[in-house]
Chain length 149, copies 2
DNA sequence: GCTTGACCTCAACTTAAGTTGAGCTTGTAG
DNA sequence: CTACAAGCTCAACTTAAGTTGAGGTCAAGC
């Protein structure tokens, strides 16, 4: 089996859409790893592309590099991660991810539920007058942040 | 109708769970608004609690204050926003929110689809060998980032 | 065998989103 | 009516996540 060719930092940058400087930065932070050629240049295995993709996706939904780094620790250092490895990683995030999904849906669906504005507890709240929801639950702000879907 | 009592910055901080300094900051950035007492202290209408809640929710899912500020421009300055106002706001975000939801689900569901790792195009990719998915679509990295749910 | 574009390190700079602190003013409870 | 918690402004500091630039090395094509 021809050992899948290693990638230079420039190639990884091109294929992942991430700047070389960011790759250096991720490496300094321990999110990715490389080994060096005799001339001290970085070489990456192909799995780095997947790791970088995950870093970007996770970042875009508001997960910090520190959290991502922690999660990536669960991936094996040497070998290409299996499906089991990935599942392990993502179960560590599941609660947080579920919560975020829920929040996003609230935002997307027009924020029709009360998010702690206090107006629900006032008789003249336009939302309450229009829909008359939640009115049986007594006064006070409800659901400051999303708890469940 | 007793005009719903106005809130001091400290009360807003307490009820929203956001620091006073952050409220000042949001105001400086135009995300919320107050008027002043004769003694130059801030007073807020109750709608500020809802605005702040939205700011926090949106922030948590990775939307920047600048984007949030832009979206909040669509809300009426003077009156309590109606459901229509909120819908207008959230439709401006809908595409971005849909994309983020989609990304989150990928992460949560174990990243089982290829996210541009390049390994799908290699015969010995463990995922491909196990599942033999997507194999009819030719070589090359696929779905670097999520396009559709 | 050289030259030119990729790489290397390291320090300094940037932007976002706040926090902290100093020094001064307000307002409310006793 | 006074003390003291709460508010005000403004400048400086912080952390995260990079980017930029200087100064020097590597390697691949001609």
């Amino acid at each position: 089996m021809a050992p899948a060719k290693e990638l230079t930092v420039g190639q990884v940058a091109m294929r992942s859409g991430v700047a070389v400087s960011a790759l250096h930065f991720y490496e300094a932070r321990g999110l990715i790893r490389s080994h060096r050629t005799s001339g001290n240049q970085r070489r990456y295995g192909r799995d780095v592309l997947r790791r970088v993709a995950i870093i970007r996706v996770a970042q875009e939904v508001g997960i910090s590099l520190a959290e991502i780094a922690a999660a990536l620790q669960s991936l094996p250092e040497g070998r290409t991660p299996t499906r089991e490895d990935w599942n392990l990683l993502s179960t560590g995030w599941r609660d947080e991810l579920d919560r975020k999904i829920s929040q996003l849906k609230k935002l997307r669906d027009g924020l029709t539920d009360c998010i702690g504005c206090g107006c629900m507890s006032i008789d003249k709240c336009p939302l309450r007058n229009r829909e008359d929801r939640l009115s049986a639950q007594g006064p006070g702000a409800r659901r400051l942040l999303v708890a469940e879907p």
